[in-house]
Amino acid sequence: MSSEPSSHWQELSKRFYKFHHFNPISGEQKSLLFEGSRIAIARWGGPMAAMKNLEVINLMKADDILKDSIVFFSNSGKIIQKVQYKDFERVVLFDFLEDELLVVIKTQGQYYVIDPFKGTKRLCDLGDQFRSDPIVSGQVVGNGLVIQTSSFEFYHIPNAQEPQLIKMKATGLKQQPDYWLAIPNSKSSSGKVEVQITNPDGGIIHLIEDEKVKIYYNRDQDNYVQLPDLKNIKMISFSPSYKFVSYLQFINQQWTMSVLQDDFEGTNFYQIQLDLKEDDYNYEGPIKDKSVLERPKKMSWCGDDCVVLQLSQTIVMIGPDSSQRVKLSNKHFAIQAEIDGLRIINQKKNEILRRLPDSFVSVFQPLSTQPGAMLYAAYESFASRNPIEDDELRSKKQDLAQGVQDCISAGKFEVSPEYQTKLLKAASYGKTFLGNQAIDPNLLSETCRFLRVVNAMRRSGGVGGRVLTYDQVYQMTKLPQLFVTLMLRYNLHYLAVEVTRYLKFQPKYRSQIYTHWACCKVQTQIDDETLSQQIKEKIKEEKGVSFTEIAHRAIEEGKAQLALKLLENEPSLAKRIPVLLWMASYQQDKQGNINSYYEKALYDAVASRDSNLIYLVIMKFLKASVDDNYIFGILTQSPIIQAHLITYLRNFDDAKLQKYFQYLKKYDECGLLAVTQAYQKQNLGDKIKVLEIAQKFFEDDSKDSFYGKIVAEQLSSLNDLKQELDKDKKKNNKKVMDEKPLNAILESFLLKDDLKIAGEFAKHYKIPERRFQLTRVKALIQNKNYDELDRLVNEINKKTQFIPYELVADLLIRSGAEDKGLAMIMKMPEVEEQVYLFMKIGQMRYAVQCAINNKKYQLLKDLRGQVQEPALIAQIEAFLQQSGK
């Protein structure tokens, strides 16, 4: 039975607070001794974890639930997971990360990350340095950690899942500070993780990661003169919004609480003196120091305007101008700040202390005459079929709107479904008498949409119902990733999908949930075929689901075939191939058959038309396997792969390439490769050797007999060259001969007019007659031996035109002997062509002359149209006239 909304209010500084009861504790938690245990409570209404407090000696019964273990409790006090824990090393931090994994840090730098649902325990190590400089204390910031060592160094570990350290700026501390507190980067003004440390000499040391360190004193400074002196601080706590910070100080044997704005710049603050003496304290004991004896267990906030101190049996609530001591029904309890209140868990109850919003107060304050209260009363009597007169309320639209507004707000706040329903129905009842103008028409439906999520979470949000409030859910909509993660932590896939739909999260979260679902599904004991069908069926409509991730998981589960089946659904080849390769290497470690993965990867790579992917697969494949013939067999299946293999080998492994060409029986390619290799050799002897190998290939079984012949010829020429060089060497002649094209050698003989040697050379290398003569022509032109040239050309072309005159002409003109060139053109047998060529090269005078000499009347007539020079025109005219044409 839920408690009456009007009961159990606590008043503090004219504000009202109330303990709202979530779930009755029915499980093992009833017998948990909070006193001798370390307790951690996950935020956002999550589970509670407990372990034996190793620093307190207490008698443990044999059946103690915390014996050798860390125990996770649901919100109804039942054990959800028990994880074995037998270490005796001091634990410096026992707390939940933001994404609800528990971290347990030990002094020597090792820590565990424990999953409350699966019970998996992962050991991380921060390194050897903490063996000599042990960790003294630690704190969770987001999903990371901040730790402090015995030498007063601070380190930041941004992600507790990966033990990577960032050393923070040195603080200059000489002794252990009383207290320090880290601020997550999402809340700090610098955007980095910050730490506030109480300075033993007074003031606060402000540490910004590895950036800077600064000390704030607030004393003797004009600016801060009105702010409290920051000294002897024993505890620090930030309000949930991080706008305010509270310092618990012990000054002159007196406890004082100072609340400031967190940036040391605001001027608003309040300070209140406190009496923290408790009834059962033994002041006769060995410890006399009041600051130790009376030091609260924990300082926390309840919302943004109330600080709460946890004493051994009571809590002290501190407002701006007063404090209030509340004795709790059971002395075993733990507290955890939430953004809108303070969770208090004890052996019997799971509660939240929150400030009552004004709307709630106006509805439920006894004897309230506020519109909210009036509307609520009117609805109650209406619902009990005993309507009271509410005409007055209905007639004042403004009041009625206020009443509806208040009932909705109060409904959001109330955690008991019974009163929640009543309040919303009252609002709905009032709304029927209002037009759309008076109130946002969507307000009620929006509220209900959110409340459905809140109630669904409380009903079935894992951990025996996640105890969230409306405000918390509203805040979480701004942190969708965290929200989804928390649900997936407990495999609440259906709920997660529904929540993302209700709260209109981006579609990527939906695919994340489906991927996670499938990864879970993979672990179930169903045969591969059915499983892959089931997964495919479920996911086929979903975009952005990562099949590669699911396949990864399948491999880890030892289900290689399933992984392959799943991968077929991955649309992105670029994603698929690395997984296949990874699968292959994973299987290789386990001596499995890997080749099918490579074949598949190759197939995909070719389909992707991406050279990089093809090379990647080829490289991995070559490195993985030793049997060349097998690899070659696979890699020869497609011309594309073949080409890539060749390119790869050409650049990285010539020897294997040679082997591959032989495998392909492409002996011409083998030979050509050897030719390339030969020409990379600097030394002539080496070059000849490799070229001989090439020749062998060409001889073996060549499809193109030409290669064999031409290489043989080249070899013969190189051998001649080598002989000559060797001879020269003996003569100590330093003239070095380079390898030259055969024709260049011939030309050099001809240039020296060494016809005999040239002739022998030409015979030896079967140089065709025409080339021999043309080379001679070239040499003669170069030597400007025009008479001989004339004689030679006439002789060669005596019967037919063996060498083209125009070519010789071209060579002559280029060498600068234009006249000789033009004369050569005149020798062309075809007059028409001759005239035409003269015309085209702009030699009109020659063209005309030539036409006249040969009596080509038609050509002359054509020329007359083209010629511009008057003298030439006259000449043509004269000739034509003379000839009577």
Partner: protein
């Protein structure tokens, strides 16, 4: 980053930098020295104050290897330096592997940078990868297809998805496959671009071998246009005197020089006429200006004067360049070259052409140019007879050196210089069926109506294929001649018709040529745009001409 920087680039990157960035900006970035990878000396260390070495290279193995050697050599000498290795357009796994094996992976920071499609003119975009054809055909590297697909995807990201895609050729298929693989991106359908046509160079290796006869093509053939930058000696531009041998850079883009828009597609004869006309017009403008000036000198008039001056400079520039080209025209070599080309396209006997080509080889004429003719012959005939083939190969190797064996092999692989296996050549058939030969082309026609004008009677095959699409009703599938052209073929079942733009703009058609396009072909596409009322944008891996094309296939030993 503070400190002095040295930039080391591959020669292939230099033109890209020239096209995209100017020297002052580089200086502002602290770069005080630019070296080419091939020229960095191993022994010599960089100057002491240089603390950062930026290296920009394409992901080629030989170049990467050299860079690794440079870094290794310089490490440990002089001060500690940072090495930033930028791969254009992106690193490959092989380069990474190589750096790893060379042991320099830990010393360099790797980056990727792509220039993407560089606008060479208002209607020409190029990736400027001169080796694209070699990479695809000789080295069988698929990266080009990815770069092309990425560039198309980036276009679609900006302009929306292109409704109609046409592909022809195996390379086009590769790109098409990648586009399909990555079609996950949901872009709105483009309203401006009507179609994308992807062709690959292998479809038509014939056209580039011919001499282009439009002005822009001729300039490229004789002076070599790098991207859109033209380096010419000052004396050619009529600047005599000291330093006239020095070269100056002209940007050959209608965006810079509006006159180019008018002249780039003209044949030489109409070009002369046009330029003469312009000169006269300017004289008249000038006279009028003088008259006006005496009356009233105002700002408008001053602007006008400036414009006249700029125009005049431009006209005289082009007159000078075209005069120089005319001089080249008037050589025996050029006459013979055109003569032989015409012989081949007009079906002259193989022996006659081969006879002269043989003689050219035997006197050791420029091998790239000789091979242009020989390949033209070989492609037209579907190869040479075994005996002739062997004879030519031997002649080439004996004259130009043994290493050319690789060059010949590359050409063989590309199908440009091959042995005839007894199959009948398809070219004469194609020529006939697709009317690639137009004998009515007049070199003096200022207003040609057929794309064949760009190659004096020969129509670039790809232009004809585009024309087929533009002609209604279109279907490649239904066209028999299409079966003669090997390679993948794709066309939309029912092409989506774009609604004409309200502002009267013509529908955009993108023609993407893999493996390089010539200016002659570009001119042909422009003519098609004019004839069929389309806004044609030409995209390509590189702009080239036959000589550059052949050169990219040369032996690299």
């Amino acid at each position: 980053m503070p400190g002095k920087k040295t930039l080391i680039v591959d020669p292939k990157v230099t033109p890209l930098l020239n096209l995209t960035i100017d020297v002052p900006s580089l200086n502002n970035a602290g770069i005080n020295q630019i070296l080419e990878v091939q020229n960095v000396e191993f022994k010599k260390t960089f100057d002491k104050e240089t603390t950062q070495i930026l290296i920009m290279i394409p992901p080629k193995m030989d170049i990467t290897k050299r860079v690794a050697q440079i870094i290794r050599q310089h490490e440990g000498i002089g001060p500690q330096r940072q090495y930033l290795l930028v791969f254009w357009p992106q690193r490959t796994i092989l380069c990474k592997e190589l750096l790893d094996q060379e042991g320099v992976m830990s010393s360099v920071e790797l980056r990727d940078f792509t220039f993407d499609l560089i606008p060479l003119d208002l209607d020409v975009l190029s990736l400027e990868m001169p080796d694209s054809f070699r990479d695809m055909i000789v080295d069988y590297d698929l990266s080009i297809y990815n770069y092309v697909a990425e560039s198309i995807n980036r276009l679609q990201l900006v302009m929306g998805n292109i409704p109609n895609i046409y592909c022809k050729g195996e390379g086009a298929k590769m790109v098409y496959d990648i586009l399909k693989l990555e079609s996950g991106e949901i872009n709105p359908e483009s309203t401006e671009i009507e179609s994308l046509m992807i062709f690959d160079r292998s479809l038509d290796l014939f056209t580039p071998m011919l001499t282009q006869l439009v002005y822009e093509g001729l300039v490229d053939e004789f002076f070599n246009i790098d991207g859109n930058l033209l380096k010419v000696e000052k004396k050619i531009l009529g600047k005599e005197g000291a330093g006239s041998d020095e070269k100056t850079i002209i940007q050959f883009s209608s965006e810079r020089d509006p006159l180019i828009y008018q002249v780039r597609n003209l044949l030489l004869a109409p070009l002369g006429g046009y330029l003469q006309e312009q000169t006269q017009q300017q004289e008249r403008d000038k006279e009028e200006f003088q008259r006006e000036k005496s009356k009233n000198l105002n700002d408008k008039l001053v602007q006008h004067a400036k414009r006249i001056k700029a125009e005049q400079e431009s006209v005289s520039k082009h007159i000078n360049i075209s005069t120089k080209i005319t001089q080249y025209f008037r050589t025996v070599e050029f006459y013979k070259r055109l003569n032989l080309e015409q012989g081949i396209i007009n079906g002259e006997k193989q022996e006659k052409t081969l006879d002269y080509i043989e003689a050219l080889i035997q006197v050791g004429a420029d091998l790239n140019k000789v091979m242009r003719l020989l390949c033209l012959r070989s492609i037209y005939d579907g190869g040479l007879k075994q005996k002739t083939y062997d004879y030519f190969r031997k002649e080439i190797i004996q004259v130009y050196g043994f290493k050319t064996i690789q060059f010949i092999n590359n050409l063989q692989r590309a199908g440009m210089f091959v042995r005839n296996d007894g199959n009948k050549s398809v070219w004469p058939k194609l020529q006939e069926q697709l009317k690639l030969l137009d004998v009515d082309i007049k070199s003096t026609d200022p207003n040609p109506k057929d794309c064949a004008y760009t190659y004096s009677g020969h129509c670039p095959l790809i232009a004809r294929l585009v024309e087929l699409i533009f002609k209604k009703p279109f279907s490649w599938k239904g066209n028999k001649s299409m079966q003669l052209i090997p390679g993948f073929q794709y066309e939309p079942e029912k092409p989506v018709k774009n609604v004409p733009q309200q502002d009267g703009r013509k529908p955009i058609v993108i023609i993407y040529i893999l493996g390089g396009v010539t200016f002659g072909e570009i001119s042909a596409f422009r003519l098609l745009g004019k004839l069929f009322q389309k806004e044609i944008i030409i995209c390509t891996t590189n702009v080239m001409n036959g000589t550059k094309f052949i050169d990219s296939l040369r032996e690299r030993i």
